[in-house]
Symmetry: C2
Subunit: 500 residues, 2 copies
């Protein structure tokens, strides 16, 4: 190993430690921070963000990277050479953004989240609107610095998974919208198929135990992770040995926490499954991007967590914790309950079929905001109108409509499409997994998910950033993200359930 | 306001934000961090500690400070000029310690705490001993850099409260030891005066509610703070708007969490009571030092929390949460229970009278370690022998003996004496408070502690670092820390309780 490479690797690890502090502070902000401490947190995160940007764009680091890069890949293994290339790409992106913009962006981030939370809790979008405007302006400015020739929204998309443009996504989403509505129409003609969730209380302390048991069964390692509560479920924590999932509990709805924790466990086992060898904390060991991240969470949530095999395993567990609530229920009843299709105000509680419509709603609104076709102040009305068109209803409140997601509260645009791209990629991956593990679902029914976790660890998590997302998905599943595949899977699934 | 002062003030605030991140990470390490994440946390804290040291010793900062200092105090108010002086002192201390030593110290800190925890949990001192040796070596090295002419242990003492040397403390402690043993002998001749705590379970979820109610009544503001659980109770969090207390719960002993939270609330209201005006986050707004900090916690724990008036308020509350456990008890019974004198293995559960003996034990051992009179490997035996001499018993286990406190696990030497200096200072302060608030205890009995909190806020917390600890204590109480005062107070209190 040459000395200069070692020097680069050490410096990249050190920068990664600083970055992981920011990840940790973000987790704490959403899950533990006292209300009166937002300004302090904002000051902390701004100070550290500026240092991280400064040190990630230092002349010494640039020189080191170019020295190594220009000598070529001879003498390096794939991982080492990838680290040099990734460091170069990241350096080149970072130096494009002026420090004062980094500072300005960091300064409004803490405030933005605080205002979003306040707006949501008081059901008043206008509290958040001015911050959203600032977020969009700054986002536009960053995009311009990163690539003035590209549409600013495409630059945002690139930030979450390189290589997917709004042109790609438009094509995928228009085909998907059509296909989904065909299935949806057939389902609506059939009416309801499931018993409603018993109208009883589900004690939160028992829900806590139940979701922990499920997360651990699915592969979550509590030795290097935690589960906490937050306004909006997420997975964070900042390090692959410190992976922190959150959820929120509803005393009247057991599935609110349970289904969301299955989703988060998909993210968490991705993070926990990243390399822990000498490449730990170097760029190549990091998660690839958010399409692949969501492929893991949605594979687990949809293909596993909403399967018959899972109901066989999980329903007896639910009965163990809530014996009085489910006296005359069977696993099949529970399977039908979680697979019932119907309007849901909240994206994260939507069924598998209508979920992409929630995504399309947000994606279209984001594009319109970035194209000046709608104004921030009118976003609430635009949301309600588009919701009526796409989902068939207007939300009952601003809190359960335009304010429901934390993403805009984080100043994060271009994220939503990755959920649906991820759902499709995850579904393809699951089918590939099943071809080499035909008995897997028999094991799932017994609560044994170890083969799936190993397969995901090996084929996705440990791969880190060695390939692009497009290349990883193709090499694992044999094809690019394929809308036909996905629609066929959904049609076959719901045909059996709704008997249409 | 001159521009250069503003520049200094902004930079000191920024450094303080970085420092507060370290405070936060320390809180998390002791209360939330998954076991497998210690190395990651250590890497994070090392990276940030090094940056903070580097930026606190930068040439630019030094130049700015000296430019301002050399022009003199004209045109500044007391607070501003104090900030310049404190910045100079802090800069001069920081540049004395080489960066590589800062790095080495930071590197072993995370590991040290992890090993202490492991040693305590597996009741095996030898797991921790090698780290303790490293801590002492590094501590000695730091002391030498800070002041090669002073005894290294005196430099350690200075780190927690400037101005108290081991010579001062020896004099105080020898007088105290003698006085305490006289009172102790009289008490032992009388035997037990209190009923034992009922041998029943105290449900932890109810303890959580009880201690929160008590902390809030005493003045803890949940809007800018939290209460969590940790192996060893402490107050941290890193910012005066984000003050995080911890405690630990024992299902068999209600007082374990309750008494420790009263103590921590004293620290917490100090932190929460610091200035929030334009001087927030500048040196002058910071807590003075640990003698004064402990004076606040021990004033609350001992003079308030163990008073008759407090029992009048608190005992009905205890009965509200635990109606079945205390059927035939009165507030007076509870008062006697918490004031019962007798051997306690754990320092933090010791009664007010024998508590200083626990401190003297640790202080003498620390001095012996720094004077090479005992070796680290023999510390466990030395602890046990000295415990027999001072306290009359050998601890039952290493976990409840030499490993019981987190301080050495943090590499922190010279801290323990501040508890007893603080107890004496706090007791004097409380007497001063009573002279101007003669009805205070009548209000305490009704659960109203607001006058006390206001008095502490005004006379101690808001004063920040304007004076030295010695000067603050004298100006508030009219005298330096006075052993006779303290012994008189204890003698009068226990005379009434034990009727000797």
């Amino acid at each position: 190993m040459n000395k200069k490479y070692q020097e680069l690797s050490d410096e990249l690890k050190r920068l990664s430690h600083l970055g992981s502090i920011l990840g940790h502070l973000g987790w704490d902000m959403q899950s533990k921070l006292p209300k009166g401490a937002f300004t302090a947190r904002q000051n902390q995160m701004t100070a550290l963000t500026c240092i991280l940007h400064e040190q990630s764009t230092s002349e010494d680091l640039g020189k080191l990277i170019y020295d190594l890069y220009e000598k070529g890949s001879d003498g390096y293994n794939d991982l080492e050479w990838k680290n040099i290339s990734l460091a170069k790409r990241s350096f080149e992106d970072s130096i494009k953004i002026p420090s004062e913009l980094i500072k300005r962006r960091a300064e409004i981030s803490g405030l933005g989240f605080q205002k979003w939370l306040e707006a949501k809790q008081s059901n008043n979008y206008q509290i958040f609107a001015p911050l959203l405007q600032q977020y969009i302006d700054i986002s536009r400015e960053c995009s311009h610095h990163l690539n003035p020739e590209k549409h600013p929204y495409d630059v945002c998309l690139d930030g979450f998974e390189r290589g997917y443009t709004s042109k790609d996504i438009d094509a995928i989403f228009s085909q998907l919208k059509l296909g989904l509505s065909k299935i949806y129409n057939k389902i609506q003609a059939k009416g309801s198929i499931a018993k409603p969730l018993p109208k009883q209380k589900f004690e939160i302390s028992k829900q806590v135990q139940l979701i922990e048991e499920v997360a651990v069964a699915l592969g979550f390692d509590k030795n290097i992770g935690r589960i906490d509560t937050s306004e909006h479920p997420f997975t964070g924590g900042g390090h692959n040995t410190d992976v922190r999932m959150t959820t929120r509990y509803d005393e009247n709805d057991l599935n609110s926490a349970l289904l969301s924790i299955i989703h988060e466990t998909g993210h968490a086992i991705y993070e926990q499954g990243r390399r822990t060898d000498q490449y730990q904390d170097t760029p190549v060991s990091m998660a690839l991007g958010m399409v692949v991240h969501e492929s893991q969470s949605l594979l687990l949530e949809r293909r596993v967590g909403q399967s018959r095999a899972f109901a066989e395993y999980c329903f007896p567990l639910i009965q163990k914790y809530f014996p009085e609530q489910f006296t005359s229920w069977t696993p099949e009843d529970y399977y039908l309950l979680v697979n019932q299709v119907g309007p849901s105000e909240l994206r994260i509680e939507a069924d598998e079929l209508t979920y992409p419509l929630h995504i399309i709603l947000r994606y279209e609104l984001e594009k319109d905001l970035f194209n000046h076709r709608i104004e921030v102040k009118d976003l609430n009305e635009a949301w309600n109108e588009r919701s009526l068109l796409l989902l068939g209803f207007k939300p009952e409140s601003e809190a359960s409509g335009v304010l429901q997601d934390a993403h805009w509260g984080d100043g994060c645009f271009g994220y939503f499409p990755v959920y649906t791209l991820g759902a499709m990629a995850g579904s393809q991956m699951y089918e590939t997994f099943l071809t080499s593990n035909p008995d897997a679902e028999t094991n799932f029914a017994k609560g044994d998910f170890s083969n799936l976790k190993s397969w995901m660890n090996k084929n996705i998590h440990a791969k880190g950033q060695l390939q692009s997302a497009k290349s990883l998905i193709s090499s694992v599943t044999g094809t690019a993200i394929n809308v036909d595949n996905y629609l066929t899977y959904l049609d076959q699934k719901y045909k059996k359930i709704y008997n249409y």
